[in-house]
């Protein structure tokens, strides 16, 4: 048996170097201090950024004046309840519904897909769209891929479609496109966000130049960031410097993956299959141009056309009495943090989530619950 290669990806360890991290931390403190005010708020829009920030405890080495908050970066969380309802209805109508893992427990306005599965509906967890295509090749029934996520998963869906799918395969498309949601969040009246970290992997697809119109519109700096501790600290330092200098622009501190123009081959696949449309993001509301839908040429693969999806007949659900207190929407908009929510870690836990932010491993509340959101080294030293 071959020995597993344990050297390879450890190349990433260079991006966890404590000496550089310590220097970055000191540099950020000085830059924030030079700004001379509080808070200075920088928003990232990616669950993987929040996971890295929380897992490595990065907030503990940031100055208190610097607020690093997560915006609408959890693809599961922003999938709107009516979209979940469509998936549930299709499953209850007899289709095999295949989707990514976290989608199972996301609440719809009636049942979740997990609830539907418990009632006998055929819901399949897949790691990749190709597993859903493979399922359709193996069985006779209709397989609907409930396609969620941002650019990085949309290109995968597009690639699978481009390669060819069997006739019993269709797509319930709930893909979202990130840049327009940044516009919506930046435009929230009273927003304190002074700079953005852009998600490095979505930008691997789109290229960093996609953010230039945003910078011009909002006069806010955007720094494209990777996912290792140094990537994030370097991006925060650059963002604070841009804020201080009053010279907003797009900076790319993730050049090992992100180029100005991005992955053109992936873009071509994505835009050949999908087009942008207006749509709703859970917790954010209407996002003009923030949803992807199948182009007319691929209309035959659209589950919304192939099936008469009747979500109106789903059983009425009595919401938990405390659900109205859930702050998921405000948290995803960067207005509140999990600690502001009266339900967080009390009535709302990963085992019994109230809102989508506690369901998904990419949701702010779930990540904070797992790792702690804002560790204070003063508490332990």
């Amino acid at each position: 048996m071959a020995t597993p290669d344990r050297e390879g990806p450890f190349r990433e360890a260079a991006f966890r170097d404590p000496a550089r991290a310590s220097a970055m931390s000191g540099a950020i403190a000085k830059a924030v201090s030079a700004l001379g005010r509080s808070p200075v708020t920088v928003m990232h829009v990616c669950g993987s950024h929040e996971q890295a920030i929380a897992k490595y405890g990065l907030r503990a080495v940031l100055p208190r004046e610097l607020h690093v908050i997560m915006g609408p970066g959890c693809p599961v969380c922003v999938t709107d309840a009516p979209e979940v309802d469509e998936g549930v209805a299709l499953a209850l109508q007899g289709a095999h519904v295949a989707t990514y893992g976290d989608m199972l427990r996301v609440p719809g306005s009636s049942l979740s897909l997990a609830d539907a599965q418990a009632e006998g509906a055929r819901v399949h967890l897949v790691y990749s769209v190709d597993q859903a295509v493979g399922l359709a090749r193996r069985i006779r029934g209709e397989v609907v891929f409930f396609a969620t996520g941002f650019e990085t998963t949309a290109v995968a869906t597009a690639a699978a479609v481009s390669r060819g799918v069997p006739s019993n395969f269709s797509i319930l498309c709930a893909h979202k496109y990130i840049p327009p949601a940044m516009d919506v969040v930046a435009g929230i009246p009273g927003s304190k966000v002074e700079g953005f970290l852009a998600a490095g992997h979505a930008a691997t697809i789109t290229g960093w130049s996609v953010f230039e119109p945003f910078v011009a519109r909002h006069r806010l700096p955007v720094v494209v960031a990777g996912f290792e501790p140094l990537d994030i600290l370097a991006a925060l330092l650059r963002a604070v410097e841009r804020i201080r200098a009053g010279s907003p622009r797009v900076d790319n501190v993730y050049p090992r993956c992100v180029t100005k123009d991005g992955n053109r081959r992936a873009q071509e696949a994505m835009w050949r299959v999908f087009e942008r449309a207006d749509g709703r993001w859970r917790g954010i509301g209407e996002v003009p141009g923030g949803s992807l839908r199948l182009r007319e040429a691929f209309g035959g693969l659209d589950a919304r056309r192939r099936f008469a999806i009747d979500a109106t007949g789903l059983p009425a659900r009595t919401p938990r009495p405390d659900a109205a207190q859930c702050l998921c929407g405000a948290i995803m908009s960067g207005i509140a943090s999990p600690g502001d929510c009266p339900l967080y870690a009390d009535a709302c836990t990963p085992e019994h989530p109230v809102g989508a932010c506690m369901v998904s491993s990419e949701g702010t509340c779930r990540i904070w619950h797992e790792y702690g959101g804002h560790p204070d080294l003063g508490d332990i030293t």
Binding site: A23, M103, S128, V155, R238, P255
Partner: protein, 98 residues
């Protein structure tokens, strides 16, 4: 769902690469990767697709960028001396884990 993971290509057959992720091997499709991929290359994987070949020299470029960011070269500022001395003082791994 959205997790991007770098790994090293250990075999290629047609449009499918076998990629090593910290000792775990998975099949990754090469349909939409930006450049031709060879055995030994690093790729960034998202939901079963390689979306980027990560060239060795760009690892170095990113690390060099960090030094530039720290040195404030691009923004012409402030922090350079203090940070450089801090790096110099901790470069051997001394108190770098503070």
């Amino acid at each position: 769902m959205c997790l991007g993971v770098p790994g090293r290509v250990v075999a290629i057959e047609g449009h499918t690469a076998t990629v090593d992720f910290w000792g775990v091997r998975r099949q990754v499709l090469l349909d939409i990767v930006d450049e031709p991929v060879s055995v030994g290359d690093y790729v960034l994987n998202h939901v079963g697709y390689a979306i980027r070949r990560i060239p060795d020299d760009e690892i170095a470029e990113t690390l060099a960028l960090f030094e530039a960011v720290l040195a404030g070269q691009e923004s012409g500022d402030l922090l350079a001396d203090g940070v450089r001395s801090e790096i110099a003082g901790t470069g051997a791994g001394g108190d770098g884990d503070a």
